[in-house]
Symmetry: C2
Subunit: 343 residues, 2 copies
């Protein structure tokens, strides 16, 4: 991001009609937006777009969640109809929702959304990953294909006018690959980063943790980002990592949702460290690994409301804060104008 | 608030197309809104209104802040012109702003706002409080008059269609009476609740803390809410306490801003404990006393973004979250409809 625009925003904040620093995180966020836009003040984001990346997971064979993988395609249909939480929160934020089939195992038909619902787009790489407990989840070629699909989705949305991207995910079992990605990419022990996802008991958690630990142990210390992604990741994680890379390449800010996005952003960071400068952490989820991921990314979450749903819900909920940060730079009076008695 | 409507909202949340509890604080907030509205689902708040209560403080004679009291009336003019942070954030939230002169020492002229600015209303009780370091800040009659003015402002806004009230404040020096109110009403030591306000050094902080401690020591253990308010409060604190009482009496939710509102809500709680049920903590400010106040109120803040500006900024920034909580109950599909294949 552009250091001169960041400095200009910091200087502008110091000259607004308020004590220096009194708007806290809104001030640093406004400077980041200026840096991303490479100009100060940055335009207020007016056309946010959620990309919900969906996929299934071979590791479900190991019993890491009580939910069946069919929920993944069922929820994609709910997204299309407009009745899911992300539809509600995206409508509230004035954001479009595009659901991307990266690797749904069940039926998924491309098509426009119902009134207030999401468009469904297919970028299916394969119908679910292989079981990461038994070997690589993806081949290297599949991982690259999925990353490229995420980049394509970002480009399509930006070409359509989107000026703020929002990550979302849907995939039963996807906190297991997230924990593995975070463990591998931050060097943290599996039992620290593995959580209960959408609600599992102590026994299932211990089992899930040992699967994560064993899978991560297969990864060599000098593995690159694509190799880590292929070994223990998911197709929606790959799509989101590509989405982040695509947003960064186009100079558009991207709001990360919860632990799935956090783990995917670590992959993007490993591939292209500068991509993190374009990321905003929409919220911190209840999952323990998310905190570890955000620390390594150097991102402070805008919201901490104990959400653990995914879909992009926490990120969508933070859109007004991002817009407000830009508006402050654009619309507030300066101290100089107040002192001069004018406005 | 209505326990049946709360229970109905909790039952409704459990039946929506998501895992139970996965929307965290949005779920409990939606239940509170249902309880306040006495029906489930509650209407989505559509007409939020900020009341910015302004006043000056005799304790400025003691040197508790580097800022001159003239800033209070100058900022009221900025509010009217529309260039202050609260104007920007209120416009972003679709909220009106009304600035109420509770006790501004400088010139203050009632009148409508400029385009995008705030209306100014006078309820002046006296031009600033007496010096709380030397005796009561207000007489009991003045405190009651100021509480009644706050109730009147709430009634006027609600009669005008407001369905969500937002507290704001302006008053140079007003973190000193806030610290004293919090110390007195929570039984917490002055050095724990007294903070740096808008930026003071160690020496001034020690002086401010001793003033708070000495003033609180004058209050008898059996003092009622009005007595505490009169002894160590401020006129804007009294106005906000009345605003909260007025909102609660009319069954309208009220979002509290920072430490000034937190201390004022403690006064409202002391006078009418049930009023807290109508309060939502918009954010937690940087001031140390705010955490203590929120604990006693039993409120969890929606945002923690290190804001320390006042004016209602943190509360205005939280409006979309409150609206989103209500929308979830209104617009999300149920699990039953998803299972049945319909929407």
């Amino acid at each position: 991001i552009d250091a001169e625009a960041v400095a200009a925003a910091e200087a502008a904040q110091a000259g607004l009609a308020k004590p220096a620093g009194a708007l806290g995180v809104l001030e640093s966020l406004s400077a980041q937006l200026a840096g991303i836009a490479r100009t100060c003040p940055p335009a207020v984001p007016a056309k946010p777009a959620v990309g919900v990346f969906a996929g299934d997971h071979g590791v479900l064979a190991q019993g890491v969640t009580p939910w069946p993988s069919d929920i993944t395609f069922v929820m994609c249909n709910v997204f299309q109809q407009g009745g899911a939480a992300i539809n509600v929160l995206a409508r509230a934020a004035g954001a479009s929702v595009t659901v991307v089939d990266m690797g749904v195992a069940g039926p998924f038909a491309e098509g426009p959304g119902a009134e207030g619902g999401a468009e469904l787009v297919s970028k299916k790489v394969r119908p679910g990953t292989a079981d990461l407990a038994k070997g690589p989840a993806l081949t290297r070629d599949e991982a690259i294909q999925a990353l490229e699909a995420g980049i394509e989705v970002a480009n399509t949305l930006i070409d359509g006018g989107a000026d703020l991207l929002i990550t979302g995910d849907m995939g039963i079992g996807n906190t297991t690959p997230s924990a593995a990605l975070i463990a591998a990419l931050t060097g943290t022990a599996a039992d620290v980063v593995t959580g209960r996802g959408t609600g599992i008991d102590d026994e299932m958690l211990a089992h899930k943790t040992s699967i994560v630990a064993d899978a991560v142990a297969r990864i060599s210390a000098d593995a690159d980002g694509v190799e880590v992604l292929a070994e223990v990741g998911g197709l929606e994680h790959a799509g989101i990592a590509g989405f982040v890379l695509g947003a960064a390449a186009r100079g558009i800010p991207v709001i990360l949702d919860g632990v799935i996005a956090g783990s995917a952003a670590l992959v993007a960071q490993k591939i292209a460290p500068a991509s993190v400068g374009y990321c905003i952490a929409g919220h911190r989820s209840f999952e323990p690994g998310h905190r570890i991921a955000l620390e390594q990314l150097g991102l402070r979450p805008l919201l901490e409301l104990d959400l653990r749903l995914g879909e992009g819900t926490g990120a969508a909920l933070s859109v007004p804060i991002v817009q407000a940060a830009a508006r402050i730079l654009t619309e507030m009076a300066t101290l100089a104008s107040v002192m001069a008695g004018g406005q």
